[in-house]
Symmetry: C3
């Protein structure tokens, strides 16, 4: 299933330099691409490697083409963003090789007669769909998913095997939800009375926009009274926990193991490194980037990069530093005493 | 489905001031409550907002009623703990709207003939129940749960869809277990021999008390030789990991992403903020509160609030501070040298 | 189902001192072992407890036997590694009590006719197995597992209930995968273009060696272009996240809640404490031990123990220290000023 370069540029754009009839069988990174591959240059450090590549074709930027073009023997596709172009070429080849799931409802699925499943949707084996659910056209619900009463799934959204999507939750179009994700479990809400917890019913839902991807075993809780909201284009990695009534702005991305406590309001175009933790009832504005392993305990009201983790060290060095950290207050006190002593020495000399 | 105020106070107590026949259709927080709602005042900062509320009725404390009562036009329910009262009113309305699952066993469930299911229990589609399991009256086991050999589930306990509850584990009455939770997987126990791990069979189980809630995708491992124990009233949020042979005392609560290593002994009435991590083989007494993101590496033998996370900063500031933290030992050394220098200066002057 | 000591040493080795016909009904730790048990001494601090034990037999090392042997009244099994011996005895007793799953395919399982299931394998209820899957002899696939197209499962590997094992992934022999684990979900890979994420298809798989154990709700992502690799003997606890294209060397162990970002290359015989986080695109050599709660942000190129977490303190003390940490740069500045002041004082005196 190889493809001519002209077919790629017709679909994906870019300026082709070289033989448009060259066929490529797949895409590969510079270090492994062979003569049947198209490859790409997005890291300037690899420019000389690109020059020597035996790949049939090379995707590169206008700037790199000016520096490199003549040195490389194959065909070139020049584009503003070679890495994004690579992603689309890879999607093209992946789509060619994928086996589309058959539309229709597998005979072992348990689908309530009061659910509305678009004819072009595919419902896999042992799926459970409750009353009032709507599943859009081209949506794919893989084996063993559970979709609760009244939930709505948009067109071309794909649930991998064993997703749990609770009553009343909604997801838009072209979403991807990975296995083991649980959307719409109860938020963690209790009133405290005489040392005992009284459960606050969680009657909101989860509202998810278009083009959202949610990782394996990630959990997004339903809201207490209003909804938890995930806007368009948000990308969540695996094992993320999103507390109730959180709002995540469009095109924000979170790496694995991030946790967000309840009622956090997170802006658009933010990124969160792995295992970053965001406490509840705070605000993070658009364009904030939080490093991995950092705990956000207050609102962040200015865009920028924020960090807060303890530097790794050899254990023996850590033991010494940690012991000092525990007593930093006394260290500052010592500095103040030294300041006073010097001041008094200085004054007595005059 | 609206309700008269007198019906609420008959069920839930509290002192009603005003027209007992007023009907309310739901409960809402102060900022959104309209004329058909009952609302509540639990945060003193919202007192003036409460005075101006157009809600039909207001739940408030004796103290707030003395300060506010005359200013508010609607009916009042006076109670010692307005937030807990709110929770119970919300439960009342939620129960009115919930659709009770049908008692009995769904035809697609795979239930061993040697399991004992109370007639009032509800077993959903595609549930698997092995031999020797006991399910109590009014218990609800939603779609796709797995319940292993000999496990016991108490009255009125609710397993949401896709809970895994392994052989021999027990949970008491009125429990709630959310989707994706795995109770009773093997603890992580190995003997080390010549660089290779030899598995130690995990032959204990998990014993869970009454009124326990367990969050989505939370895992509680079975004990190695004796049981892992979760006492009455414990509340665990999502994505929590409880290692084997841990004991968690009654009415302790843990927020999302907390981890507890093996054989920790945790007291009653404790709280753990999100992503707090508790190492193994240590003791935490009753009434300990651990802040989010803190690592507990030693026993805590005195009640109180404990914290241990690195403060968040702009990345550039963090880089400087982290570099110093890495070299705190040399900084303390410098302070000692300064002390000596000053001492010698002082002495030489005398 | 009790066993004679001679039968144990015939199977497991070790030097037996005492009556070979003594029968033991189980193994128990020193503090609970009774007259029907065999027990073990692996912690030298418990030597006097061992001397007084009423257990029928004691497993101990040559060294401890020299110090203790005469004081203990029961039979002894002397071995180089008593803890590993204990593990094997416990395995022996656990195997005696386990109920082997019936070979064959449960009638409710949905198995593609184009899958190859060894006759000695056991496929539980409501399992879904897609086309091209191979399941080896003596493998056990418990209730509700999903195995994607073309995946391969080695001999005597055991999937507990509700494992998700995606298309093309492989696991070797004698593996154990716990409930809720998701192997082979898409890695988190996107190209960024005009503020929007473009998905990079994840076309690699996950390749897992022999004797690997994977904990409950752990996730291991498939590679982007090549495979994610888990070598022989690796042990992963619960709720671990392994990013795409990670390589984990043989006999490395990770405790619960560890996260590994993409493309990390981790050596053999390493250990990672609970909730340790390893960033992507870095290298960790063989024999590295990372403490719990530590974030590894750079490569570790030398074996040894590494640590990086903020020490826990009473909250009031933490507040003071954390405030100083945030301003450590100014504290170092003060020290430098003090140094200058002293230097100038010293010089002016001369």
């Amino acid at each position: 299933m190889s493809t001519r370069l002209k077919e790629l540029v017709e679909r994906l754009g870019g300026q082709l330099v070289g033989d448009a009839d060259i066929e490529v069988a797949g895409i590969a990174p510079l270090d492994v691409a062979g003569t049947t591959h198209i490859t790409f240059l997005s890291n300037p450090k690899l420019r000389s490697q690109a020059a020597q590549s035996s790949a049939a074709a090379l995707i590169l930027s206008t700037g790199d083409d000016a520096l490199l073009g003549a040195d490389y023997r194959g065909a070139r596709i020049i584009t503003a963003n070679p890495y994004a172009y690579f992603a689309r070429v890879a999607q093209f080849f992946a789509a060619q090789q994928s086996i589309p799931p058959p539309p229709g409802i597998h005979p072992t699925a348990v689908v309530d007669p009061d659910a509305r499943i678009a004819p072009g949707a595919s419902i896999g084996p042992l799926v459970v769909i409750e009353a009032g659910v709507q599943v859009g056209d081209q949506a794919v619900i893989d084996a063993g998913c559970f979709i609760g009463r009244g939930a709505r799934i948009g067109e071309a959204t794909h649930f991998h095997a064993r997703v749990t999507f609770h009553a009343g939750c909604r997801i838009g179009r072209r979403g991807i939800v990975h296995s083991g994700a649980v959307i719409g479990a109860d938020g963690f809400g209790f009133a405290h009375e005489n040392g005992v917890y009284v459960k606050i019913p969680q009657t909101g839902a989860v509202a998810i926009g278009d083009d959202v991807e949610i990782g394996a075993n990630t959990t997004i809780d339903r809201g207490a009274l209003s909804d938890t909201v995930i806007e368009d284009g948000v990308k969540l990695d695996n094992q993320i926990q999103i507390g109730h009534n959180t709002q995540i702005g469009a095109h924000t991305a979170m790496a694995g193991c991030v946790g967000v406590a309840g009622s956090a309001k997170i802006g658009k175009y933010c990124t969160f490194g792995g295992a970053a933790m965001i406490l509840g009832h705070l605000t993070i504005v658009d364009g904030v980037h939080v490093s991995a392993g950092s705990l956000v305990s207050r609102s962040i009201l200015e865009a920028g990069q924020y960090t807060g983790f303890y530097p790794l060290a050899k254990n023996a060095d850590w033991e010494k530093s940690a012991a000092i950290v525990r007593n930093l207050t006394s260290m500052r006190e010592k500095i103040r005493e030294l300041e006073k002593a010097i001041k008094s020495l200085t004054e007595s000399r005059q």
